[in-house]
């Protein structure tokens, strides 16, 4: 038994000693330091890039403009920006790359970049609230969907809530800014890249440079956090490779923190309106969820928050309506957790308001509307233990007796809030290889390490399948030379690659059976290999899906979703408007948990992610200039250690989902980042009677809410 046992990370010694290498830690001989110059304006026509002064600075080797680059042409997903910068004179966002400085040192490159003057014929940029509204194309969901009739549902309701909720643009801000190091050898490219999916830059580089995929090698041993912003391929990655090609020298390029705002994506602003109708007993008769996301001019990506209401609660009538508003800002990109992350902010706040209006306990309202099957199409769930999650979490929290406890702790007014967590189930294909030798086993896959603990999952699964101890398993990852792995985004890695590794290990075990290995139980590898008279036995495995992917159980008879129950205690200081987190209890229905140690850390990390969203994070787009006002970490707040109490109690309901994946797992990486923001707002309301419908809930909002009350 190794799966299910708390196991320290396989790569832990590398990370605690500084031996772990990230993209910008790679310095091939003769490397040039590259710094991108971005457009200072959000919209217009590029007239000139004046670089004479910059070019003359000591240490500057070359400055590249559009005309110096190979033609790249229109890209496709997984390129995030399909209209590649530095190919024409159209400026569509502030920070859009217009030149590349290459120098012998970072100091020379940065100084030269600061001396370059970019001349643009300005157009007035479309900014949030002033852009063109559109219906987006169908992606996983149709932009407008309905079941039943909302008007009939509302007519049948005793109580109706209709409120709007706001979530601003936010940036992922991983601690590692995106980086790429490119080196060519003739027509062969090696790219060390900070990425969440090795195959993505592999595909895009081949397409961008018109070379076969076999000529591209992507190496990504460790990525310093992604949260979605390193999933797709951004212009700087292609530009680093282009600069290396043109100059004939390796080029290293790490985005500055400011460029992390303007050269890779963010989570789009979400403006949502939720309408809920219910009869007196709390049963929903109508759920209508409208959403508008900001969106780039030439590329289309949005967080689809309205779709959250398709799967949360049972209702005879459900309608979702998604629009996008095109603005002059860099294309957005998914953020932990898309769809239900922003969607739950609105829906779970509205449910709380409905509960208040009905004078019903918020937990009872959720229980009354528990969906026995997928609400929209009635498909049976692959596995759903949400009720158990509600029960256990509320019990541990002491939810039913919450108002019997003191409501004041010194200056702090105590409030309690709850919500439902839920995320989509994205299943993606992948392959893995297992090499069995007398002295141990190696697992190989191109999978990426962004800190989710996937390598340790592989080790546990391989060890269990082969009946050996996990410390005899070595993992090789992060290189396109290894079997192609699915992404570390979409909460899909454990399902996909855990299954692929199991499959590969089973393949190896079958081969070992020829030499007397049993079907199950421990194996004596030295003896088996001796009998086989080979140094190594290889097993190949994959996780396959018709059509290459499955979303929420598509292509199967089942609907698939993950759930949780969040219970949150906050303290509010009514004189200063401050809110502080005191306690969280959460329980999840997410299938089989392979490594409880890393799974716990994931949930805690995602709860804190929601704390940041709820109480401090915003990347404000300056309304006149159409660029982020602050592009740094000194004027944009993300949580610090002192914000977070030790008392965050997370756990999983024992569950095995045989339909989601052969290893019984579903996904957890994003689940904890749903519902918590609403639970916090609900708790603030419980504490001081102020209902805030925009995040971040700043002291100014609480003070305003208090003086209004």
């Amino acid at each position: 038994m190794t799966v299910g046992i708390a196991t320290p990370r396989v790569e832990a010694p590398l990370k605690v000693t500084g031996a772990a290498k990230y993209a910008a830690d790679i310095y091939p001989p003769n490397t040039l330091y590259g710094v991108l110059v971005g457009s200072p304006l959000a919209a217009g026509k590029l007239l000139a890039v004046e670089a004479d002064e910059a070019r003359a600075l000591p240490g500057v080797v070359r400055i590249l403009f559009a005309q110096d680059l190979p033609h790249i042409g229109k890209l496709e997903a997984p390129a995030a920006v399909t209209r590649m910068p530095m190919q024409d004179d159209v400026i569509e966002w502030e920070g859009q790359p217009v030149a590349i400085v290459l120098a012998e040192s970072i100091e020379a490159a940065e100084q030269a970049a600061s001396r370059i003057r970019v001349r643009i014929e300005p157009h007035a940029p479309d900014t949030p609230g002033r852009g063109r509204l559109e219906r987006p194309p169908e992606t996983f969901y149709k932009p407008q969907e309905s079941k039943g009739s909302i008007s009939e549902g509302l007519a049948a309701a005793d109580t109706i809530i209709r409120e709007s909720y706001f979530q601003p643009t936010r940036n992922h801000n991983p601690m590692e800014t995106s980086a790429a190091v490119a080196a060519w050898d003739g027509d062969r490219l090696t790219l060390w890249d900070a990425t969440q999916m090795t195959l993505n830059p592999l595909q895009v580089m081949a397409a961008a440079f018109g070379i076969p995929v076999e000529n591209v090698r992507i190496i990504s041993p460790h990525t310093g956090g992604g949260f979605g912003c390193k999933g797709f391929v951004w212009p700087h990655e292609i530009l680093a490779a282009a600069a290396a090609r043109v100059t004939g020298r390796p080029v290293r390029l790490q985005l500055s923190r400011a460029q992390q705002y303007s050269m890779v994506g963010h989570q789009a602003e979400c403006r949502q309106t939720v309408t809920l109708g219910a009869t007196r007993d709390g049963k929903l008769t109508a759920v209508r969820h409208e959403a508008i996301n900001t969106c780039a001019i030439s590329d289309t990506q949005f967080e689809a928050p309205a779709a959250a209401s398709r799967s949360y609660y049972a209702s005879p009538n459900i309608e979702t309506d998604q629009q996008i508003e095109r603005i002059h800002l860099i294309c957005s990109t998914p953020m932990r957790a898309p769809i239900e992350g922003p969607g739950s902010w609105a829906l779970e706040s509205a449910m709380d308001e409905l509960a208040r209006a009905l004078e019903m306990d918020p937990l009872d309202l959720r229980l009354a509307n528990f969906a026995e099957a997928a609400p929209f199409d009635g498909k049976p769930w692959s596995s759903n233990k949400l009720r158990e999650a509600y029960a256990e979490a509320s019990e541990v929290y002491g939810w039913r007796s919450r108002h019997e406890r003191p409501r004041q702790d010194g200056i702090w007014r105590i409030g309690h809030g709850m919500s439902t967590a839920s995320t989509f189930c994205a299943r993606m294909v992948g392959k893995a290889r297992v090499r069995v030798r007398a002295d141990g086993v190696t697992v190989e896959a191109s999978a990426n390490d962004i800190g989710t603990g996937n390598q340790t999952v592989f080790a546990l699964v391989a060890a269990e399948t082969l009946g050996i101890s996990p410390d005899r398993v070595t993992i090789q990852w992060g290189d396109s030379e290894f079997p192609p792995a699915g992404p570390v985004y979409g909460s899909s890695q454990t399902m996909g690659m855990g299954s692929a590794v199991q499959h590969a290990a089973q393949d190896a075990r079958r081969k070992l059976q020829l030499y007397g290995a049993t079907e199950e139980g421990p194996l004596d590898l030295p003896e088996l290999l001796r009998r086989a008279n080979v140094a190594e036995i290889e097993g190949d495995g994959s996780f396959e899906l018709p059509g290459g992917r499955s979303f929420n159980g598509s292509g199967t008879p089942y609907a698939m979703q993950s759930w949780g129950a969040n219970f949150v205690e906050v303290g509010v200081d009514p004189d200063l408007g401050l809110v502080r987190l005191r306690r969280v209890v959460a329980r999840y229905s997410a299938g089989r948990i392979i490594n409880p140690l890393t799974a716990r850390s994931q949930m805690i990390g995602s709860i804190i992610w929601e704390w940041g969203k709820a109480t401090m994070e915003a990347s404000i787009v300056e309304p006149t200039h159409g660029r982020f006002l602050a592009k740094n970490l000194s004027n944009v707040a993300i949580p610090v250690n002192a914000d977070i109490p030790a008392d965050i109690d997370v756990g999983f309901i024992d569950e095995y989902d045989e339909y989601a994946s052969p290893i019984g797992a579903r996904g957890i990486g994003e689940l904890g980042a749903t519902g918590v923001a609403a639970a916090i707002a609900n708790a603030i309301y419980d504490a001081v009677g102020a209902r805030v419908r925009e995040v971040p809930i700043l002291p100014a909002h609480i003070l305003a809410g208090l003086s209004a009350a």
Binding site: P40, L41, P58, E94, E107, E110, Q111, S114, R117, A258, I411, D575, L576, G577, L578, R580, T615, M616, I620, E622, P623, T624, H625, R627, L629, A630, K631, N632, S634, N635, A637, P639, V640, N641, A642, D643, P696, L698, P699, A700, L703, A704, S707
Partner: protein
């Protein structure tokens, strides 16, 4: 950053070469390096005063606490004499920045830090008007996103606040700052070290365009060498209000000193931080004689703030400042 020349100062007098133009002094460098990265300053020469150990001493002499300008924020904040006799200063120092920055940032440099206004703190070339960065270009914050900006002392040309925590405490504690310059030694009350925009404009007269660049009364070549904090029987406290629990600038802050007799406030001083480009004094007339308790203080303090001039997005600072001052008075009162 531009390529600059470096020299190590061997004596205090070496620092007089720093004219705030092509020559700057560097101590910890925790502010200056960021100015140079953003293009706020671009000196050709840095004079490193960071090893002038004679300016690092903290000691009590008689009824005065002397704090050397090169003492770090952690050194000041954790010094036994400061904790004992200038509690608000200890709290202010330890509430500033992060432990790493506090190990390097000096209390001299800290009071010379510049505003956190996001329009000001953008990388050159600025896409919007900022009279500090480019005199005459306007003030984008005046009618822009001004949640964090001033509610006192501002002009249409500049609405920035000055974010130093120790400045507010030193002002409330009635401290003086000693300045040495080429041919001069002088002392100023700390509360007069900084100028709000209205004061700077009055000084600038018909050179109004340049007023936004005038932030302190330092003359070229002058450096701060020490602070002198009177030791009294009053108790003090510093309250810093920010949306996250640490490592962040204040939304507003309050430093107070208080003497209590028979559960009534006998003497007090209140300075507010991050509401203006200098520590802003609140008149304490109306709170003398009140008990140092929330119910009595809050209405009186709100009255004291009646002459605040909030901007479009920062009205909340008025109530928040009253709350902060009240909290600081209650806290210090509990110790008195």
């Amino acid at each position: 950053m531009r390529d600059f020349a470096y020299a190590l100062a061997e004596r205090v007098e070496d620092a007089f070469a720093a004219n705030g133009g092509d020559v700057f002094a560097i101590a910890g460098g925790t502010e200056l390096l960021n100015w140079m990265r953003l293009g706020i300053a671009a000196p050709a020469t840095l004079v490193d005063i960071g090893r002038l150990d004679s300016l690092r001493t903290i000691r009590r002499t008689g009824d005065m606490l002397e704090i050397g300008a090169l003492a770090t924020l952690n050194e000041v904040g954790q010094h036994a004499a400061v904790r004992e006799h200038a509690r608000a200063l200890s709290q202010a120092c330890l509430a500033a920045a992060s432990p790493q920055i506090r190990n390097r940032a000096t209390i001299g440099g800290n009071l010379l830090q510049k505003t956190r206004c996001a329009y000001f703190r953008a990388e050159a070339p600025l896409p919007w008007g900022c009279n500090k960065r480019e005199p005459g270009s306007g003030c984008a914050a005046r009618d822009g996103l001004n949640e964090r900006h001033a509610i006192f002392g501002w002009t249409d040309q500049c609405v920035a606040t000055m974010p130093s925590d120790p400045a507010v405490a030193l002002a409330a504690l009635d401290a003086e700052v000693e300045l040495h310059g080429p041919g001069s030694i002088r002392r100023l009350p700390v509360r007069d070290l900084h100028l709000c925009q209205e004061e700077a404009a009055a000084l600038a007269g018909d050179r109004a365009d340049a007023a936004a660049t005038v932030e302190t009364r330092l003359t070229p070549g002058e450096i701060i060498v020490r602070y002198l904090v009177p030791v009294t029987s009053a108790r003090s406290a510093y309250v810093k209000v920010r949306e996250r629990a640490s490592y962040e600038y204040a939304l507003v802050s309050a430093a107070v000193t208080i003497a209590v007799e028979g559960n009534r406030i006998a003497r007090a001083s209140i300075m507010l931080g991050s509401v203006a480009q200098k520590p802003w004094p609140l008149s304490t007339e109306t709170i003398i004689g009140l008990p140092p308790e929330r119910a009595a203080l809050l209405p009186a303090l709100r009255q004291c703030l009646a002459d605040a001039r909030p901007l479009e997005h920062n009205r909340y600072k008025v109530a928040m400042a009253a709350g902060a001052a009240m909290r600081a008075l209650v806290e210090a009162g509990d110790l008195a």
